[in-house]
Symmetry: none
Subunit: 186 residues, 4 copies
Amino acid sequence: MDKKQAILKSVLKLVNREGFYHLNMKKIAQEAGVAAGTIYLYFKGKEDLINALYGMIVNEFNQNVLEGYDDGKPVKANFFNMIDLAIDFYLAEPDNFSFIEQYTYAPFLFKENQDENFTLLLPIYKMMREGKKQGVIRNIPDAILLALIHGPMNTIIKLHLAHKTDLNKKGAKQKFHEAVWQAISV
Amino acid sequence: MDKKQAILKSVLKLVNREGFYHLNMKKIAQEAGVAAGTIYLYFKGKEDLINALYGMIVNEFNQNVLEGYDDGKPVKANFFNMIDLAIDFYLAEPDNFSFIEQYTYAPFLFKENQDENFTLLLPIYKMMREGKKQGVIRNIPDAILLALIHGPMNTIIKLHLAHKTDLNKKGAKQKFHEAVWQAISV
Amino acid sequence: MDKKQAILKSVLKLVNREGFYHLNMKKIAQEAGVAAGTIYLYFKGKEDLINALYGMIVNEFNQNVLEGYDDGKPVKANFFNMIDLAIDFYLAEPDNFSFIEQYTYAPFLFKENQDENFTLLLPIYKMMREGKKQGVIRNIPDAILLALIHGPMNTIIKLHLAHKTDLNKKGAKQKFHEAVWQAISV
Amino acid sequence: MDKKQAILKSVLKLVNREGFYHLNMKKIAQEAGVAAGTIYLYFKGKEDLINALYGMIVNEFNQNVLEGYDDGKPVKANFFNMIDLAIDFYLAEPDNFSFIEQYTYAPFLFKENQDENFTLLLPIYKMMREGKKQGVIRNIPDAILLALIHGPMNTIIKLHLAHKTDLNKKGAKQKFHEAVWQAISV
DNA sequence: GATGAATGAGTTTTCATTCAT
DNA sequence: TATGAATGAAAACTCATTCAT
């Protein structure tokens, strides 16, 4: 078994279950089934561990979502695809969502560069630019566009994880991405 | 001089500046200009203090936003008003936003009732119900509607606070609430 | 109402109910129905308060027990009387017993002179001397005599307060003082 | 080097030297030669530590005293033996005595079950029952018998530790146990 | 590589005492 | 006299990190 992976998974689970505030190295070690000292063989310390995990998730997310992007297809198709892939990513591993949210809203928690918090939005930016160029997306400020795409996704996943809606139900994702598209398309 | 209020304000400032993770009683006391022991005259402990602050902000928010609601006016006007008031609330005291975000995304951080996390959405729910009844709001699932309203607001404020957009610019709020209205109206 | 007395009674009750360990000035004030600061009008501090209470109880005890002593009566009668009065003293105000016990066994708790711990034994010493002189009490070392008198009294009161025996039952005290007399008499 | 034992011994010494009231974790750690945090590796907290020590001493006491009990021997011999062993136990480690006394007279100090305070009396109970059955011990209520045995022992040890008598002097223990025997025997 | 006991600085919390009213 | 809010030093306890094994 890969201890490094076990440690990262352990952090993910614990942050989701109890929050950053209650996270500590002993719990991480126990959950991962390793000794406390072992963590320091793979990470410089708590901060390094958290940042490594964040980077990992962001990379995974971008890979997953961007791989569905096809320059040959129309913007709308790419948009639908992107929304669906993003949702799928979080539904497949809901702990990722909670972790990213907490990491993002803990200012300076781990000396993180503020701008990197928007790294996750890369796929959205790509799509927005293309859509505006082709004239299929409304010509409103980028910030508002971003808000109309990223915001609803965020909330809908939260609602899903809180069991206020069920995105796995047939047609649910479709309904959602169409609603968002209507909000931003010409 | 109200020491209780000073302590609460102090928490708000510190959570915003350094995050929950770096919050500690000594800093709170110093920032509030009181002795460490004084905090315990007004609050049972750290947990109680945080929860009290959360409750206070939620109440303030709801009062501010709901007071602009006028049953005699059309849903659209109320909606615009509500959005503007909510934005104003956070722009006037940005620390409130950061605090609420961090509190909300720290699961079980302070044993908070999960459902209460949606208390802040009361004004939105009120408006949604009325708009659907009158047929001016699209007949899509509540969860999606909620996502299309709450999500963008959340993101736009975040963008504003991160200086990626400026909601104080003339016409900015108007542009935003109109875009959201277009997303949800028939 | 005499606040000073109320404070002393409050200490007595609290020490009995929760022990020295959990005693604190706020509780004392609350129980006595006065403000915390008021205690310092009557006592220099916690230590002074405790010591004053101890002295008061010892005096009361000696007055009660010695007043029953009659030089004209035989030693045995005085002994019976003394035992009964001592028991009565503690049964009438059981908190006194618990307080004295805890005070006595907390070495240096309040810088008390070690020898004073035996002040309570004055009545016993008086009786022992007289009895030995008259030849009605066994000629064994004083320490052993003391042990045979003070020890059983102590234990029997403890057993009574713990509901393991009932000294209020008719004839109970008589049975007890006769048993002790048999242990020490010639 | 057993740190857990060192910590327990340290508490014993400190309680004897300064009393429960002045006991604190820093002192315990220093006296034991460990870091303050180390105590928490072995005990949940102060309360747990104190209770563990009490349990340990009670067990040790009972083992020491009961191991001298021989069903084949007459009650009187067993009684003498028991008294001597009990005295020896406390004289060998006087801190045990002081600790037990303070623990016992601090009501609810550490939420201890009241009845357990009488666990130490097990050896005495055993002997009493046997003696009464054989008719060598006076037929008086158990509580009084207990008072006549336990009480004097308690007091004599206290007197010894206060240097008012010397139980190590040749014949001293013998004189004492014979006096107690006379008090309870037919 | 792996362990987990040990550390001690840092944190939360308590509480005797003071003092402005 | 009497109050009780406020203090701050000292107490209990936590936990990231180290290091001998």
